[in-house]
């Protein structure tokens, strides 16, 4: 790691249902268990975004408002209080596991990245007990 890594935690609430179109109803039930409930269920996700780079002249690695603005506009607005299967284009025909959710967030952030430091890590907790991380290079 060169420079400083800054991590900011955000939260969003969303519902989803895990059901693979490639599997039978019985196989889906067996594989995903409760997460296959046909009506869906929800989580309070915790999302950590880490950026890394040298300090600028203001003594900061990133402008907090710029980072918050980017995450709010490109990620939270898309996901917060939404049904992942029905409201988020990435999950049309794609199972909204937290692994796939992390990848979708990483792609969107990189597509719209306009900050000086690099995107270094994405860490997303579905619950306190299930945490998924992606570390650059993605």
């Amino acid at each position: 790691m060169r420079g400083v890594r800054l991590t900011r935690r955000y939260r969003f609430a969303a519902s989803h249902r895990l059901d693979s179109p490639a599997l039978s109803a019985e196989e889906n039930r067996k594989l995903y268990g409760k997460c296959n409930n046909p009506y869906g269920h929800g989580h309070d996700y915790s999302l950590e975004i880490s950026v890394e780079g040298p300090l600028n002249a203001d003594g900061m690695v990133v402008d907090r408002e710029a980072l918050d603005g980017l995450v709010e506009e490109r990620i939270l607005r898309l996901l917060d209080h939404k049904n992942l299967n029905q409201d988020v284009p990435e999950f049309e025909g794609v199972v909204p596991t937290t692994e796939n959710l992390a990848s979708a967030i990483e792609r969107r952030l990189r597509q719209h990245w306009n900050l000086a430091p690099r995107l270094a890590r994405i860490r997303i907790a579905e619950t306190d007990r299930n945490v998924f991380e992606m570390e650059a290079p993605f």
């Binding site: 420079g3 400083v4 935690r9 203001d58 907090r64």
Partner: protein
């Protein structure tokens, strides 16, 4: 093996550049630029790296690490106004990034042993914002 010790300190601070107007400081540092100061409960996690000693079975004596953190961080910074009481923050803006680097500088040589080095300083400004510094840059 990595060993991490946590300590907490509470301090007041202002993030502003004296060369700028108040409006300019507010634009860059937001509410942290309030000239009268604001405060945080900082949580510090210091990680050292080394092999457990063959005799003691320890990477680092935890009491000694605690004492170093007390002397270098908690005693000078806890319940202080950083800009007014804790150099170099009379001239260096006490952003979380700069505080983490200052803590690194203060403790790096003190924890250095033939087989132990400081690996990371993680400073939580709030539960939702933290910085990591590994000594480079």
């Amino acid at each position: 093996m990595l060993l991490t010790r946590k300590v907490e300190f509470s301090a007041a601070l202002v993030c502003s550049n004296p060369a700028w107007s108040e409006a300019e400081n507010r634009r860059v540092y937001g509410g942290n630029a309030n000239p009268n100061g604001h405060g945080h409960n900082f949580m510090l996690e210091v990680t050292v790296e080394g092999q457990p000693d063959a005799v003691t079975g320890m990477v680092f004596d935890l009491r000694e690490l605690k004492e170093i953190l007390n002397q270098e961080v908690v005693e000078p910074m806890d319940h202080r106004f950083l800009n007014r009481e804790v150099p170099p923050f009379d001239r260096v803006v006490p952003t979380a990034e700069n505080i983490a680097r200052e803590i690194w500088t203060r403790i790096e040589t003190r924890v250095r042993r033939p087989n132990v080095r400081l690996r990371n300083v993680r400073l939580y400004e709030t539960a939702d914002l933290y910085v990591d510094y590994g000594g480079q840059g």
